[in-house]
Amino acid sequence: MSSDSITAQDIAAREYRAGFVTDIESETVPVGLSEDVIRLISGKKGEPEWLLEWRLKAYRHWLTMQEPTWANVHHPPIDYQAIAYYSAPKQKKDGPKSLADVDPKLLETYEKLGVPLHERAKLAGVAVDAVFDSVSVATTFRAKLEEVGVIFCSFSEAVQKHPELVRKWLGTVVPYTDNFFATLNSAVFTDGSFCYIPKGVRCPMELSTYFRINAANTGQFERTLIIAEEGAYVSYLEGCTAPIRDENQLHAAVVELVALDHAQIKYSTVQNWYPGDKEGKGGIYNFVTKRGKCLGRASKISWTQVETGSAITWKYPSCILQGDDSVGEFYSVALANNYQQADTGTKMIHIGKNTRSTIISKGISAGHGQNTYRGLVRIGKAADDSRNYSQCDSLLLGDQCGAHTFPYIEVLNSTAQMEHEASTSKIGEDQLFYFQQRGIAPEDAVSMIVNGFCKEVFKELPMEFAVEAQKLLGVSLEGSVG
């Protein structure tokens, strides 16, 4: 009865639709890391002296650090001298002035990825900053944003045009000493997005950055900084893809968010870095530090992530709830299929009074995937009447995958209210057969179950991204049954 048998653990080839390579001439610095390389990167960008100094301090600190080993992930040692730290598509001048200057091959690349950069095209309500390897190649809708005073540009440009803002906020949420990968990023970061929402402004459109790794043997170290002044609101989206390559590639980004009084930042990620093939060869190592600081009172930072890609994901978008009455949220769907490893979660650090946080984590494991939720909730001494609600659900497809949950709770204030719920469910052959017996094909069954499982998180995503995320999960799980 072989034609009938459905084995949930029989993981067949999955399709990675963003796996093409753009054939474009790039300028890449030789592999290896040294103070000279950092000076070179900084020089290419014409950076001010203070920034170079900051990078060098980070680098010297990094030399004293050890790669962390506490995560529930396994990989061969990374040779940091075998990585190129800067790669940029060749351009006439030092950066495109308008879309007309952008290499058509790049426009085509983003078009193919479903992120057209022409402003009249599909993503009409969304301003996009497109980062290709180490540099930002285009930012759309800038004029429209400037009308209301919103600054949305590449990080490099912000360093040139708004140095006072960058200098004031850079490293205030994730200091250069923070952790091994964040420190490395501080030394060698190349580009990323910068976004500033002035006081009282509700950003009129979604802002988004689309990260693309193209060059081989290159690491991507981008840095994003978002500042929402008093009463401001912004919704920010991030998408990522990379070509299919046999070697592992390193992505070590840093994202810093700052929300002042009554400001709100909603940060959504749909991460689809190349996950490696079904034997576990290749794929991106995604070691990312994302942190938001609710600096002002009654401010709010909300992280929503759908993590389907990467060979290894190591990522804990966190909130420091410093202002009284501030709110932190973390909604996550993480998928580990084939040989993917995901160690992800959040940290909610309650400092101010009456601060609230919500954690909804949905981990899906299939094939030989290992999915770990790791979360810390800390209620500080002064954080009177603070509350946390955590819910960690795991879904297992088949029986060779794993789900692990490590909730850490530190409560230093007795008025805190903590609630934690966890569940593990398994889609076994019995469930799939039940669907089949009612006429529903196993692929559709899996996607119905997975979408049901994730709906609390999907509803936090902006509409068009929720649809994207659903499709992406469907594709990522294709062939995970039958």
Binding site: I6, D444, G452
Partner: protein, 250 residues
Amino acid sequence: MLEVKDLHASANGREILKGVDLRVKAGEVHAIMGPNGSGKSTLAHVIAGRPGYEVTRGRVLYQGQDLLAMTPEARAREGVFLAFQYPVEIPGVSNVYFLKAALNAIRKHRGQSELDAMDFLSLVKEKAKLVDIDESLVKRAVNEGFSGGEKKRNEIFQMAILDPPLAVLDETDSGLDIDALRIVAGGVNQLRTPERAIVLVTHYQRLLDYIVPDVVHVLLDGRIVKSGDKELARELEARGYEWLEASAAP
């Protein structure tokens, strides 16, 4: 409608069905009785195509088609319905959503258009009344946290919605209280039409008081050892299975 010929099936290397023969025509209701572990559910599963069984000999024809060559979902779309002895829970997927997907998959297979939300909901209302199932159960996740009896009732509800030509009900009466048994049996009786064939697996005469079968079979150690009319069920109720065991020996 259904023709099972010399069916041998095993699971994990152990032979469970040892030559089953069964013919069910449209419009008929057949009851299959037999002691625990005799292979009743196995027969139902093999007909529906559940993984984990190996058919080593024999055939199963449904409306003239070779059922064993088809995927489980293809069998379902062709109209083979199994009401499970132990319905599984599907967390996160609501009953209505599930049923709508099922019905539309079947309709698509028949070349019919998908039912729109309005038509579907009125169908749900109508059929929910038929088996007297609470509307809140319809909205909840499939079988999640349902009581044993509610799960069974939900199986019949699904059958009413999907309207299959062949229904195999595996101990749908077990776990039902007296009122529920009457209601479910009433529901099944309404679905008893000249076009439909029903196979009832049961341990109890009680169900057969409500749904009077055309034929009663006794399955013993993987074989049908005796078939008769409804009187056979009464006889089993009175005498048990021991008197038949001699005929079960190979």
